[in-house]
């Protein structure tokens, strides 16, 4: 079997390119189908495997309960109990970003599914967007259950004067977190056994820096930096100000400014994520290591 070289190789490459050249509208339709296809199991999977829903709820509720009892043992204002429940709901998104976005491609590689993604005529970007969309919708349901459970178990109460603004802030928060998740998926994908530990490092340390349970302004300069780079920080600060006006004095920045930061993060992380995924895919294909199991 003789290898193609020189002009013959170029001709074949051009022919293949011409035959597989999709129109812009076809590509858009194909990308949307891919996003829908990947989002589907994220949204409807829990109906088929209710035990996943149980564990998705039990961990945040246990953590939430520990903090609630700690707060009550200190005798602080009950508004902080409500803030803790809101934080626990937001953390379900964060956990999903770490494990169901960041670590997902890494797991897919270990289970063999990444080979299918790579060989299918689907870009990793569309797959990642599908994971993000499906993940966000699925987790929204879980977050709502956590808030209801918090209200029933611990009497959490909220005063949302502007539901539209609250909804917009939540949406911007989710978008910023999942955009970061797309960036993280590339980083996890090039990680070997470090991936599990990396996930651990993105948990409690980021919760601390993000001012999840206590105001981010208490962190001083570190809090300011966190608001600029970590979606959890402006998200929690803004949501707390909107849902619990009595704690508004603990806010670091005005809500509108924090929404602006979250929107900017969504765009910036989204662009970086797309670039990183394309880069990792290209380098991985060239090096032949993209599909190599970590363990």
């Amino acid at each position: 079997m003789s290898a193609l070289t020189g002009a013959a190789a170029t001709q074949v490459a051009e022919r293949v390119r011409a035959e597989t050249l999709w129109s812009r509208s076809y590509r858009a339709r194909h990308a949307l189908q891919s996003i829908g296809g990947r989002a589907y199991p994220r949204i409807f999977g829990m109906l088929r495997e209710p035990s996943w829903l149980f564990f998705d709820l039990v961990f945040p509720i246990l953590n939430m309960s520990s903090i609630v009892f700690l707060l009550r043992s200190r005798g602080v204002d009950e508004a902080w109990v409500s803030a803790t429940i809101l934080a626990s709901a937001l953390l379900t998104f964060w956990a999903s970003v770490i494990w169901m976005m960041g670590a997902q491609f890494h797991w897919e590689r270990d289970s063999g599914n990444l080979t299918l993604y790579i060989t299918a005529p689907v870009g990793l970007g569309s797959v990642a967007l599908g994971m993000a969309f499906g993940g966000a919708v699925g987790v929204l349901f879980r977050a709502a259950i956590i808030v209801v459970a918090g209200a029933l178990l611990y009497g959490a109460a909220y005063t949302i004067a502007d539901p539209l603004l609250f909804g917009a802030t939540l949406l911007a928060s989710i978008a910023a977190m999942y955009s970061l998740g797309i960036c993280l998926s590339s980083i996890f994908l090039v990680s070997g056994r470090e991936a599990d530990h990396l996930g651990g490092l993105l948990n409690e340390p980021m919760q601390l820096l993000g001012g999840v349970y206590a105001p981010v302004r208490n962190l001083g300069a570190a809090g300011l930096v966190a608001v600029g780079i970590l979606p959890l920080a402006p998200a929690m600060d803004a949501l707390r100000q909107l849902a619990l006006p009595q704690l508004g004095a603990n806010g670091l920045l005005p809500v509108q400014a924090e929404i602006g930061i979250l929107v900017a993060m969504s765009v910036v992380f989204g662009v970086i994520g797309r670039f990183l995924l394309a880069y990792i895919e290209r380098v991985g294909r060239v090096g032949g290591k993209l599909l190599t199991r970590a363990d």
Binding site: S51, V58, F59, S66, F69, R72, V76, G200, Q207
Partner: protein, 305 residues
């Protein structure tokens, strides 16, 4: 080599190999000890050689310190952080590092070997029992978590956490730490025996149990804060007594509430009885569960979760 040959004996054309001694141990005890050491070495490799030693140390420090920082941040809500009162949380959180690791250790060892490395069938085919293998893996996880716990306690002291007047009560610490560790590894072994039977979410159960125990054992708040019936469950856990014993040894003061009124000797006795009860039951449950798993084909199962 000559000793090895001397240990061989010939029976009916087959060469059987007698169990080699392991220190003062002979027979099956020597085999178990050898398996324990081999499993510990393997666990150390799995847990520690994924990165450079410096990064490992940084990793071991960051997460527990952040965990501690979270609780201290909550502590500071509604006023300034009172360093004199942080000892309760610092010690509870430090000890729980070990509890979490030891609880999850045996289950994760079994599931890792079954589904990730796919070696459990080969281990099962060797003369080693899975029990020392699981215990060895759990002990190393606990030891690594112990270094994190030490970092947390040193950080607490650096923040101004007052230690016991006259120094740490070393004899008490030397009694309660091994007892507590044994009890939690025993519970972890029992948990592993249950999890190896499960079709779904076997990986999640140890974490869920650890989270529940964290809530119930008074690690960061006194038991009295919990609702009445839940307090009784918390008081029945050996981990509660372990944490209280370590608090008394390090801080020199008992916890607030009913737990603090129990004399230290009684506390140690309760912890010892709990440990004995757990170790009377856990190995039997483990053996029964592993045999059942073998008969039902669970040792070849891949839950893909």
């Amino acid at each position: 080599m000559q000793t090895d040959r001397a240990a061989d004996r010939s029976t009916g054309g087959l060469t059987l190999r007698e169990a080699r001694p392991f220190g003062p141990l002979r027979g099956s005890a020597a085999d178990a000890a050898r398996s324990l050491v081999a499993a510990s070495r393997l666990a150390w490799s799995i847990e520690a050689n994924w990165t450079q030693p410096l990064y490992l140390v940084v990793f071991l420090a960051i997460r527990p310190l952040a965990f501690l920082g979270l609780f201290l941040a909550v502590f500071s809500i509604g006023g300034r952080l009172d360093v004199a009162s942080i000892g309760f949380v610092v010690v509870g959180q430090a000890v729980f590092q070990i509890v979490g690791a030891a609880l999850q250790g045996p289950t994760h060892a079994l599931l890792d070997d079954r589904e990730r490395y796919r070696t459990i069938r080969y281990i099962f085919a060797t003369p080693s029992s899975l029990l020392p293998v699981s215990v060895g893996r759990a002990l190393v996880k606990a030891a690594i978590a112990g270094s994190s716990a030490l970092i947390v306690i040193v950080s607490g002291v650096a923040l101004g956490m007052p230690l016991r007047g006259g120094g740490v009560d070393l004899p008490l610490l030397l009694v309660v730490v091994p007892l507590g560790l044994l009890s939690i590894v025993g519970i972890g072994v029992a948990l592993g025996a249950v999890c190896v039977q499960l079709r779904n979410d076997a990986w999640q159960y140890p974490e869920a149990v650890a989270g529940t125990v964290f809530l119930l054992c008074g690690a960061i708040f006194p038991l009295e804060v919990l609702p009445g019936p839940v307090q009784a469950i918390g008081a029945a856990l050996p981990i509660t007594w372990w944490i209280e014993g370590v608090r008394r040894a390090l801080l020199g003061v008992a916890s607030p509430g009913r737990l603090g009124t129990i004399p230290t000797e009684e506390l140690v006795a309760i912890l010892a009885v709990g440990t004995v009860v757990i170790w009377a039951a856990a190995p039997r449950l483990f053996t029964f569960a592993i045999n059942r798993a073998r008969e039902k084909g669970h040792l070849d199962r891949n839950t893909a979760s």
